[in-house]
Symmetry: C2
Subunit: 177 residues, 2 copies
DNA sequence: TTACGTATGATATATTATAACATTCAGAGT
DNA sequence: ACTCTGAATGTTATAATATATCATACGTAA
């Protein structure tokens, strides 16, 4: 599998880095679809044409994308797609770990390592909207340690960090105090 | 200031614990309003009757509450309140660190320590909807450490943890796998 | 064949949030 | 006192996001 600059296999902590501006986009999408097929086959779940198409659209944006933006694109091929069409597909893809929802953006993004169950944290650039997906054990542990101390049983962590990515800092030195 | 079981002053890491079912609710609200007055006086910002009333309503729920639920309650005293009425007040209260927004619930909650700027993490019980507000340095550091390594400049962290609080685990032993 | 479950189609509506323009009002400067 | 200004609020409309509900299609197991 290509893995296009992702170091998911060698160091799971960074699942998907900020995408450089030049990379083989088609390959990204193809890899994601292929991984999804594998995952769904294992799960015994049905990766239908509609679900595949929605996943392709999520990946083709290669960044967070909203449900209604997906709906518009989906309508290129399915004239009468409606909100439930896309929300159902998104639900399926989330349940099977193929995409993640970014709560603070009301948007969805392809998972960089769908074959492995994992926690996820996101670094979101406020300028270029690119996103890095992490599975930082130290972050996860810090959360569960504190939760344990309070007798809280963690089921799901949402960690979303807004800021400025390295490329954008370099491009525009950033004068805010 | 009462601080009703909060240990904000002695150990800043837990800003607001899960509220026990019996506590002096009126005192909670009064403390919050009083802290808000202090904070706004320092900021030179105007803590108007409307803003005060919305903050009281946020606190009186003593848990996360949605904008439209606030709007309904607000209408008891202001018959023609409209969405912008409450959203503007919420924006003000957030800008001044008096409330936080819980992204994963589209809801708002009073800040347990408005006099101190702080990062915030939330533990949210899926059963009783109670919320603990933390300012866990270890979590914050774990995030910034990883971000630094990637050259990412952190501006804002959203950490929201869904799970089951101690009281609810005790009450219902929880059989999910 | 029938019955059933899963997926999708289709329509309507709920929920959350913002845009845009009008009005009020208090304080600063004249 | 007059006027200007900026902040706050009032008012109406609409955008953006998400779900409820019922109908239809289709593969498959009894
Ligand atoms: Zn992932
Ligand atoms: Zn950037
Ligand atoms: Zn707080
Ligand atoms: Zn609970």
């Amino acid at each position: 599998m290509g893995k296009q600059g992702s170091n998911a296999t060698k160091d799971a902590e960074v699942i998907a880095p900020f995408q450089s501006h030049v990379h083989d986009h088609g390959q990204c999408v193809a890899d994601a679809i292929s991984a999804a097929e594998t995952r769904c086959a294992e799960d015994g779940s049905s990766f239908t044409p509609l679900r595949r198409e929605v996943l392709e659209l999520v990946w083709s944006s290669h960044g967070p994308i909203g449900a209604y933006e997906l709906l518009e694109k989906l309508r290129d091929s399915r004239r009468n797609a409606a909100p439930p069409t896309v929300y159902r597909a998104l639900d399926f893809l989330m349940e099977h770990g193929l995409i993640h929802r970014i709560e603070s953006l009301n948007a969805y993004i392809g998972c960089g390592d769908p074959e492995r169950h994992h926690g996820a944290q996101f670094l979101i650039c406020r300028d270029c909207q690119s996103v890095a997906e992490l599975d930082d054990k130290a972050i996860g542990r810090a959360v569960t340690r504190r939760a344990d101390a309070l007798g809280f049983d963690v089921e799901q962590q949402t960690v979303e960090v807004i800021g400025q990515c390295a490329d954008c800092s370099a491009r525009e030195p950033d004068d805010r105090k």
